[in-house]
Every structure is written in C-alpha cells, then in structure tokens.
C-alpha cells in the first residue's frame, strides 16, 4: 500500500496536469466557462424554490421560508450531485484511460483521481457560492462561525467520491451494464433522499419509514453540510458516524479492489 501511495506521489505531475487539461478542454470556447457548471444547480434551486413555494407538498417553502429552502436545496443538490457524478463518471475512469494503462504500469488509483479531482474543483466552487448565498440571506454573523464544521467534511466526501469512482471504474471494465444500473439507482436514491424535500416531508407521519433517511449515507452527507450552513449547528452524531463509517468502508473496498484486480483487469480491457 505504501509503495502504491509513493507511486501516486511520484506521478503527481502527470495526473494533476491531466485534471487541469480536462477542465480547460471542457470549457474551451464556452461563453460562461466554468459558470455553466454553477448555473445548472443554481437554476435547479431557483426552479424548485419557485415551484415549491407555489405548489410544493404542504407549502414547504412557505413553512420554512424561501431563503432557507433555497440554501438547503442548493447544498443538498451539490452534495448529492458530487456523489452521483463520482459514481457515474467513475465508471469510465479506466476505459477512458486505456491508452495509458496499455503503455505504462501506473497505479490504477490515479485514473479515478483524475475523474474525482475534476469533479472536486466544481464541487468546491459550488460550495463557495452556497456559502456566499448563506451569508447574503442569513447574514455573516450567523453563517461564518459554524463554517469550520464543513472543513473535515470536504476531504471526507472527496475520499468517498474517489472510492466510489474506483469501484465503479473496475466494475465497468468487467460489466458494461454497471453504468446503466448506477444511473437508475441514482435516480431512485434521489427520491429516497431529502434533496428537494425536507426530511419530515419525506418520512411523513409514518415513523417506521425513518430508517430510509437515517441510514442513507447520501442523506447523512447532505445533513453534515446543511446543518452548519442553514441551522448553524453540527449535524447529528448518527450522520457523522454514518459518513465516516461509509467512507471508510468504501475506501477499504476500493483498496481491496485495486489490490485484487490490478494484475487482472488488463486482461479484460
């Protein structure tokens, strides 16, 4: 494992330059550049805020206030979007880099890093926009003192994204169907996670459905970002435990996948 990490470090200039190139290529000749990536969740948040203030379930935004709702939704969309994209884009991380894999025996982790670091840059910019929005809507005195609570969550979610991308990347080499299955699973998970609804609306009156949210890792990640930003308090202990536990489990699974398949996967490409 140490040799693997040392090799990733040795080739840091290579994968970092590829991440930079991916970003430049994506936004070359584009009027808004990276703004397009920001515009999508901003537009989605604006639409949802307007829709739910008019026809939403039980007047969700009327109850909590549209400012509050828009920050909650924007944060949830950003966190959920990062985890979903890590899985879906991660599916192509090995097949997309096949030319390098066939030329040079580099550590396989760098290909999922290439994918996830590109997503991380967008994610961090979006988080900054959410913070700016929270300061604008709720005031700096209320927002800034609890911002530090996001600091440990940022590397944790990136680590989780890398692990998910790595597992999805290896799985796709073996089974083409994985990306399609994950796409459907992400759609289902979107409606089982409090992304556009608040938790109490998703669970409703029936407390027996609470486990759907309580033990949903995506919901836990969302809570760890929403609580400090909107309620100015830390998330629940269960949410922190679940994010740490899920990330560790995924990282262990990704490391075992690399260890077991790194000498086998080339025969399936």
């Amino acid at each position: 494992m140490l040799r693997h990490l040392s090799s990733i470090w040795t080739f840091r200039h290579f994968w970092m330059s590829l991440v930079k190139m991916d970003l430049m290529t994506r936004y070359r000749k584009s009027v808004l550049g990276i703004g397009w990536s920001l515009l999508q969740p901003i537009a989605m948040t604006a639409i949802l805020t307007v829709v739910f203030s008019q026809i939403g379930p039980r007047g969700q935004t009327v109850e909590t206030g549209w400012r509050h709702y828009s920050i909650m939704t924007f944060a949830a969309l950003t966190v959920f979007g990062f985890l979903r994209d890590s899985c879906l884009h991660g599916c192509r991380c090995l097949t997309h880099n096949e030319a390098y894999i066939r030329q040079c025996p580099l550590p396989f982790s760098i290909y999922s890093l290439r994918t996830v670091l590109g997503l991380t840059i967008h994610f961090l910019i979006t988080v900054m926009v959410i913070v700016a929005m929270a300061v604008l809507f709720q005031g700096a005195e209320a927002t800034l003192p609890t911002l530090w609570m996001l600091a440990p969550m940022l590397p944790l979610i990136v680590l989780c994204g890398w692990a998910l991308a790595t597992i999805a990347g290896f799985a796709t080499v073996y089974f083409n169907d994985v990306s399609h299955i994950l796409e459907i699973a992400a759609q289902m998970l979107f409606f089982l996670t409090p992304v556009i609804y608040e938790r109490k609306i998703l669970i409703g009156e029936d407390a027996s459905r609470a486990w759907l949210v309580d033990y949903n890792p995506a919901a836990a990640f969302i809570e760890t970002f929403q609580r400090p930003l909107v309620y100015h308090e830390p998330a629940s202990t269960l949410a922190y435990s679940l994010t740490v536990g899920f990330t560790l489990a995924m990282v262990v699974l990704a490391c075992l996948t690399i260890r077991y398949l790194s000498k086998r996967v080339i025969f399936h490409m």
């Binding site: 290579f14 330059s17 040079c104 025996p105 299955i181 399936h268």
Partner: protein, 277 residues
C-alpha cells in the same frame, strides 16, 4: 544496476467472442444456461526464461503474432505473468506504440508535458529538456495547435522526440526505428543510437534483421509464444531467415489456443466465425 529476470514466465489470455461480459452472462454462467460467450484461453507466452543485466543489448525476432510485443509488455509490467516470475530493476523507458496516448484536444506543448510527466519527469527536470524536445520535432508553431490537427507523421515526430528525451536504465523498443519521413528518419536513427548508448540495458523488437545484427549482443527467436532459439544475433537471424524460405512455406502465427480444455462450441466460435448475411 539494471536487471531483467524472467523465470518460466507465461502469459495466457482468455479471449471471448464479445469483449465484455454482460451481468446476465456472468450470473447465468455455470448455472442452468450454457454460456453464449465462453472463454477461450490463448497461451501468448509460454515458459520464457530470460536473464539480462547491465550492458546487454537483446534483440527479439519472430513472425507476426509470435509474442514479441507481448514479451516486451510483460517485461515493462503492463501484463503480469500468469505463471512464473518477473523481476525488473531500473527505470524503464518503453517505446511501444509511440503514437498511443495523445490527448487530442491539448496542444503539442501540453502533450510534451503530459507524456514527459508520464515518463517520470518533473516540471523542474522538464524545464531543461522541453526546448530541446520541441526543436527536435521541427514542428515549430504547430506545437501551439491541438494535436487533433496533426498528420500521422507529425504525431509520430512529436511522440518520438518526447519518448527519446529520457535517461533510461532499461530501454524497451518495439519497431520504432522507421518513424517519420526520410529526412526525419536519419535524425531519428542518430537519436536512437544515442539513447541506446545511454541506456544500461536494451531489449528491442524488430523485423529489420540488419538492425538486430548491428545493435544487439544477444538475440531471441520467438515462435508461437515460446523461445525457439537464443544466442548470437548472427546465428539466430540466419536460423530465422532459413526458416522462412521457401516463401510459400507455412508459418503459424499467434499464441497456442488451448482447445483441449474448452468446450467445442467455444473453439468453433473462434475458429469459424459466423458471417452476417
């Protein structure tokens, strides 16, 4: 110290009619349905034993599909041996398909950086080399344009200049001695000579018997994944050339298909592909 030590190294590929296995195929395989996409093992390399150290210059010859390029990739670590052991010490520089792995949307300058970093260079070490690499390509202002606008020859020039700018300990070369146009070839040959003299250990695959005799101290003749003969390059090349005459003699290519262990349907599927109407 540079060292290559292969002990009884073998490499078996499992071919399938279709490249990827579907989840359905994987789940149903071996249960109650007969596999529609069975594996067919092909022994690409079989029982290769090779020891080389500092100063050795090894040439590999053989027919198409004899396993020459696969052996180089095994030495490079791209393919792990499925049986036997592989130990290689020293910084490896591999010149395989040198046009492979370009980032087509990036400029020539950017590709010089990516590929140099891939070869283990750092921004600091590249500072001293990048101008020399650019000059060697003779691409001038084209280096500022994306690589997708390059012709095949221009791409080969760029790839060759980058690949040969390193300080290798173990140099692996696969048929790259005839790159570019005639003007570039003389320059490329000179560069190759310098690179070979700088490297401690070289393994070269070539169909140019003249190059093998001139540049190598030891030669291997591969046939269907096994070493048929090894020794002095003159003797090995002579045996190879005698083996291919008369020109209408049959020369089996490719690794050995391990048909004995496989269901007949799998072998038929590979040997007698069904043509679409």
């Amino acid at each position: 110290m540079a060292r290559i030590d292969l002990q009884d190294a073998s490499l078996t590929f499992s071919l399938r009619q279709t490249r990827n296995v579907t989840l359905k195929e994987y789940l149903l395989k071996g249960m109650f349905l007969r596999s529609v996409n069975p594996k067919l093992p092909v022994r690409a390399l079989d029982g290769i034993t090779l020891r080389a150290g500092d100063g050795d210059r090894i040439g590999i010859i053989g027919h198409n599909g004899a396993g020459k390029s696969t052996l180089l990739k095994l030495i490079a670590g791209v393919y792990p041996p499925t049986r036997g052991t592989r130990v290689v010490d020293g910084r490896i520089c591999s010149l395989f398909d040198i046009a492979l792995g370009f980032e087509f949307e990036a400029t020539g300058w950017d590709n010089i950086r990516y590929r140099s970093y891939l070869q283990g260079e750092s921004p600091k070490s590249l500072t001293h080399k990048i101008a020399e690499i650019a000059e060697f390509t003779e691409l001038g202002d084209f280096l500022k344009t994306p690589v997708r606008y390059y012709s095949a020859g221009m791409m080969v020039r760029l790839a060759f200049a980058i690949a040969t700018a390193v300080e290798p300990e173990v140099l692996l070369i696969d048929e790259v001695l005839s790159v570019g146009d005639h003007a570039f070839q003389a320059k490329a040959n000179e560069r190759m000579k310098q690179l070979m003299s700088r490297s401690r250990l070289m393994v070269m695959v070539s169909h140019s018997m003249d190059s093998i005799i001139r540049m190598c101290s030891h030669a291997l003749l591969l046939r269907q994944g096994t070493i048929q003969m090894q020794g002095d390059p003159d003797d090995v090349v002579r045996t190879y050339l005698e083996g291919i005459a008369p020109t209408n003699a049959s020369h089996p290519v490719g690794g050995l298909i391990d048909a004995a262990t496989q269901p007949a349907a799998a072998v038929e599927a590979i040997q007698e592909p069904v043509l679409a109407p």
